[in-house]
Subunit: 420 residues, 2 copies
């Protein structure tokens, strides 16, 4: 080993130690910005004082790293090295700081602190940090509002209709934070200003954790179909109505749930994350001694390819019809949302794989079962994602965790990929 490479190694090792410490400090500082006690989880609703403090922390750190900072008309924070200027095509890198109520420390945060650390590690790179506003969808009833508004897929009129629990619209609640509907059109995302988007995010699933992978390249974001399903039978006396004489809507829904679970398992291939979930359910009349007459439930169905989504849709409808018919129930099924699968940019995925390889890491591929701001920008910019392993696959939960060395590896890969 030459003297130079030994010195390089020592310097790299010091840099890594510094990166880990800075990343850990950033995550801790953002975790301290919460509306709820850490014991029950981390809560940063978009435009809340806690969210504001977290965004201000990142802006101050970006400035300290030599950046100029601005907020666009949709409420997203941007930071670029002052010397770079806003006109040069740059790599966009970031994620979100808003959280679900009583969520974890890593969801969204990891992608922001990794972008911050990449700016510190590579101050000469054409790199822009972004903090997307309102990704989760739990504050205004629709997710990815910052990216959708910036991308122009949501109009100011649609934004005006979205309200939080206090009845304030996104536009009104966001006004003190830079949201400016009159400038939405003029400040819309200009693809020419960007080379592409790299979003780093915790996986929120078990695929990496189970295989021991630390960081993976996301090659696709799964598509989603959501449904509202009403099954109606006959409410009747729970004591005097024999089993054979019932039209029990909840028993029908139970049979449908078991069938959908089997169907999702059948449709699922390796790492495809084909999933079906009944998450919401309301039973009527919901009384101990009355056979349920009506059940209203949601179905969330995600798959990697349009073909699986279409086939799954047909099989799901057949399963529900069969479950309803078996008990003489009426079925009313409506598809309430449809988002196609989003393949990510092949060239940019390769660039990330090559950066990983140069750092001595062979990055596996992954599919994202969850939606991300990257899915909104992918049709407009070359877009790719890195996943960082989630301990035990736990997310949207205070127990959410990722290893600091894996987060640091993601930061080094981004810094390597965007080097000029």
């Amino acid at each position: 080993m030459s003297r130079k490479s030994a010195a390089d190694e020592r310097q790299a090792s010091r840099a890594i130690a510094v990166s880990r410490e800075r990343l850990a400090r950033d995550i801790e500082a953002i975790a301290e910005c919460s509306e709820s006690e850490p014991r029950i989880g981390y809560s940063r609703p978009t435009f809340s004082p806690a969210w504001r403090r977290a965004v201000d922390y990142v802006a101050a750190e970006a400035k300290a790293a030599g950046c100029e900072v601005r907020t666009d008309a949709a409420g997203n924070l941007h930071a670029r090295p002052t010397d770079l200027g806003w006109a040069v095509p740059a790599w966009l890198c970031g994620s979100h700081l808003d959280s679900v109520p009583t969520g974890g420390r890593y969801d969204g945060v990891v992608g922001v602190v990794v972008a911050l650390e990449a700016l510190r590690l590579r101050p000469d790179a054409p790199l822009e940090l972004i903090v997307f506003a309102e990704e989760e969808g739990t504050t205004f009833g629709l997710g990815m509002l910052g990216s959708r508004s910036w991308a122009g897929t949501l109009t100011a009129g649609e934004l005006a209709a979205l309200r939080n629990r206090e009845g304030e619209s996104y536009l009104a609640a966001g006004a003190p934070h830079g949201v400016a509907p009159e400038r939405l059109a003029s400040e819309r995302l200009r693809p020419a200003a960007y080379r592409g988007l790299i979003e780093v995010h915790v996986e929120q699933g078990l695929a990496l954790w189970k295989t021991g992978a630390r960081v993976a390249v996301v090659t696709a974001i799964n598509g989603r179909k959501q449904y509202r399903c009403l099954m109606s039978g006959a409410a009747n006396h729970a004591g005097s109505t024999k089993m054979a004489d019932r039209h029990d809507a909840l028993a029908g829904a139970a049979q449908a749930m078991i069938a959908l679970e089997s169907l999702a398992r059948e449709l699922d291939g390796d790492a495809d994350h084909t999933v079906m979930t009944v998450g919401r359910m309301a039973v009527e009349p919901n009384a101990l001694n009355v056979i349920p007459g009506r059940v209203d439930f949601s179905i969330d169905f995600r798959a990697r390819t349009p073909a699986v989504l279409e086939r799954g849709d047909a099989l799901l409808r057949a399963s529900l019809q069969q479950a309803a018919a078996a008990r003489g129930l009426d079925l009313d099924l409506a598809c309430t949302e449809e988002l196609p699968p989003v393949p990510l940019d092949k060239a940019l995925c390769r660039l990330l794989r090559e950066a990983g390889a140069r750092l001595g890491h062979a990055l596996p591929d992954a599919a994202s079962g969850a939606l991300h701001d990257a899915a909104i920008l992918a049709p407009l910019l070359p877009t790719a994602m890195l996943f960082v392993a989630s301990e035990g696959g736990i997310s949207h939960n205070p127990a959410e965790a990722s290893r600091i060395e894996d987060i640091e590896l993601a930061a080094r890969i981004v810094a390597e990929a965007v080097r000029p």
Copy 2:
């Protein structure tokens, strides 16, 4: 045919026509006492103005038939022929006028109007009409309050704790209607004052209707076990958590529901009405895109014999444990109520069968899946019930119906059974 028997027949035929008209008029008059529009159903919560009007109607009709009327300290109305007096052992006959919210015209009402008609048909019989207060249990959270209080199985202290939606206790709400806790003990049911109880009720099930039976002798009231079941898994992201990595509490509950349904069918014998019902369910966090972490649901299990209840309890527990274990869920199962099966009085059942036979009707036997005030009094008095067929088995529903000729037949059987 002799002149006398022809005259008898003509008189009987006139009496029947008169009975049907009076019974139909009574049912119509009571239906008009409702807090809700008939279109959505009949609502007579205990102690409501509508309930009061219905009880007052029955009291006035009983007086018109030559009765003296009184209300006991528990709020039950009693009427006896004035000439009979309150001391002579009499047959007790009646049911309830309170209803579930938006219920039907016949539940409870049939047993009251049949007793009224028997008093008219047989003014010389040792017969006492009773209107039990608060049978349904939907107003104060516990059923058969009038009969339980009169029988002494509920104390004034327990009664004081039961409150309606307005927060008023049974004692406070009942005070203007004669409820008097200080007299509960002294006015308690004296078995020596009664020969027995005959309660007529609509079946609220399909057994009679399906076999074409008009009226049946109830030989037993099924026992009941009720449970509260909590299944806990892990709330997680509906998009990124693969099917194999889930601990979906709602999927576990669905599997349990299907298992319980099969179990009830296996346990059920001919006319045994062994039933299991999941009527109430709450899902957490109950969000479209989150795998349910916790489900809280009720189980209502009824069977005819203690042996079936015990065997069913063990199999039900095993089914739930299996459903929970299959998905790595925690199970917390608590039995919240336990009422043993109530065999009805064999001699009194025979008396009713013989009365039916004298009128030319062979009455089949039936079991009651539903609970009734008769179950409360059965340990204290010889008790029997007649069921009147329910059209289509529908009950607790505005579509509830029974044929007026079947109700009239029940009235004639009661009048025949109690003749001096």
